[in-house]
Symmetry: C2
Subunit: 344 residues, 2 copies
DNA sequence: ATCAAACTGTCAACCGGTTGCCAACTATTG
DNA sequence: CAATAGTTGGCAACCGGTTGACAGTTTGAT
């Protein structure tokens, strides 16, 4: 309607020809619009003969349903929403991809929004989305449990990377990967380990630290926790000094970015990785194998998380109950070059 | 409908309470629904007094418009679509982010789809999307020009990374970055340069090769073109043999992934980068600085492309004409460690 | 041949906003 | 105080599908 100069009353933005409707089909096929509607969406409700006539007519007109017209009375939109904390963060790339792929395989479209790490933005985005999508996936949400439960009471919601009582969740089970990592480090002669933590409010960071502590207990390593300023390459560089000061010969970081920054800084300071210090990251993000040595890391199957979450959500939309407890996907240690035998 | 166990007649999937409508507000405020509609969307059409009453009522009921109901008569959806060739490819991450960010800044929601590098999937996705969004961004489309023009005739379309006559496009202007790269290589004593090409059907790959040829002409370098099997790290590894055989001491690759694979393979074969051979990638993707040495690369401002494309699209939705010719964004050489003086 | 059960297609009432048109109600001015 | 212009709110008709109720048509069994 607003194509430049003329504010013409045409309803389609461009090229006047608005798309054909079921009424057009009905006229062409010589039946009632409602019959067309049934033919196109309720298999078996109309006779094979009329069905054929209608399908041909639809074909001929190149008909496509108007999703809004359909959504209005039914409330179904064939869309799922995904809110991620930070689009810049490679951790989410795989989640996005996983969700998009399984979504579109089942004819659902993905709607994406970012919360920019802010609980308020997140809530706003979630609220806005909730009215336009059939269900919502929250990846590493920053809101408090209560708000999330409130959203979940309204429409199906699945959470990734966090466990919330009463809301279906998909979380990597870090224990397996962490124990593999700690065992491998112990076997390579390490006795002092440092964990470089992520953001204070991160559920996952706490969780990983607990896992590290437990594994170190079991394998008889000393573990210290170091704080990072931010979970980025830069944050990793900054924490290098503390790592050195801690006397640890093995480091597990909250995520790969930290590990990469840390490794760069330690190497710049003349340390040899892994002979003098072993570094194990977390997540196995894109690019983790670009470094020299390539980064050893505990792989979180992020893509699988995204796709499992989407599957869960889609099943819930079909009327299934969400799982009572969190779905756990296994993590595993990927040994590359940055961890190995300690050469004292 | 198919809500699993309980085929209740409730229209909302969950929690019975469907959200308040303008009719509810109208009743509460004691006015006609149409007045409510006007108060909420046409500023100035109703008196300040009624406006206030209605807004209060809306506030009280916690009203939110139903986007579908609004979209039905107006055709406007406050949504823009983005189709990328491959969600896995980091090149697109920045584009997605750029588009999402500027989109949401202007209250538009981003709908994402992937074409999996297939022209057919792409067309299907585009068609499906076109009916649900106000405008569409195509990033590195694989369809032929004709189809894209057909889509563009229907609704506003902006293309990224390709130039199509008659369709608004945003493309990185590779010439600047390429000449910087070639000049820098020439200055460092290189005389033989190889270009590792991307997919045969890629418009961008051809374009970059042309740029390389032109720059090499100017700076008096010999340039050969080598084919890669696929534009990935693995493809880069595979092409290493040809690179060596070509006798070139400087390489520019179609993208960073190829450069990284190539560098890894050459280093594994005992070559020293950049003393014996210089490598310059393309795009400056996430992770390009994770390598040792960090990758020199011609940066394409992908994020800016995404955001420019979104801006263009949004402006077109406001009635502006699309630009007659392609919008070019500058590329620039980022010198890191992988290119430098040739030590013969 | 008769009658009930099973199919099929049609009618009409929604879903929740938007908007052209008109009437009633100010406000301004002569 | 009347006439005119400008506001403001209401009515009703859409947008394009979906769906419950119903009637006409088959089909099958008795």
């Amino acid at each position: 309607m607003n194509s430049g100069a003329a504010p013409s009353p045409a309803k389609r933005g461009r090229g006047e020809k608005s798309s054909p409707t079921i009424y057009d089909i009905a006229r062409l096929a010589g039946v009632n619009p409602s019959t067309v509607s049934r033919a196109l969406s309720k298999p078996g409700r109309v006779s094979a003969k009329t069905q054929k006539i209608i399908e041909d007519a639809a074909e001929q007109l190149n008909y496509q349903v108007n999703p809004f017209a359909r959504a209005l009375p039914t409330g179904r939109t064939q869309t799922i929403g995904l809110i991620v904390a930070d689009i810049t963060n490679p951790t989410f790339f795989d989640i996005i991809r996983g969700a998009e792929t399984t979504g579109s395989a089942r004819d659902y479209t993905l709607v994406l929004a970012e919360s920019a790490e802010s609980p308020e933005t997140e809530l706003t985005a979630a609220r806005r989305m909730l009215s336009t999508v059939d269900g919502l996936i929250l990846a590493s949400p920053r809101m408090d449990d209560e708000r999330i439960r409130a959203l979940a009471a309204d429409k199906p919601v699945v959470v990734i990377n966090r466990e919330i009582e009463g809301v279906p969740c998909v979380v990597p089970d870090v224990n397996k990967g962490i124990s593999q990592a700690v065992r491998s480090l112990a076997a390579n002669g390490h006795q002092q380990l440092a964990y470089v933590a992520g953001p204070a409010q991160s559920w996952m960071s706490r969780r990983r630290w607990e896992g590290v502590q437990a594994a170190c207990d079991w394998y008889k390593l000393a573990a210290v926790r170091l704080e990072s300023s931010k979970p980025t390459v830069d944050g990793g560089r900054q924490v290098a000094r503390d790592v050195l000061a801690s006397g640890a010969t093995a480091v597990i970081t909250y995520n790969d970015l930290l590990a990469i920054g840390l490794m760069q800084e330690l190497q710049a300071a003349g340390m040899h990785v892994p002979d003098q210090i072993s570094i194990v990251g977390f997540d196995d993000i894109f690019g983790a194998d670009f470094t020299t040595p390539a980064l050893s890391t505990v792989r979180s199957p992020l893509g699988e998380c995204g796709s499992r979450a989407a599957t869960l959500l889609l099943d819930m939309l079909l009327g299934q109950e969400g799982p009572a407890e969190a779905v756990r996907v296994d993590t595993e240690l990927v040994v590359r070059g940055s961890s190995g035998r300690l050469i004292a």
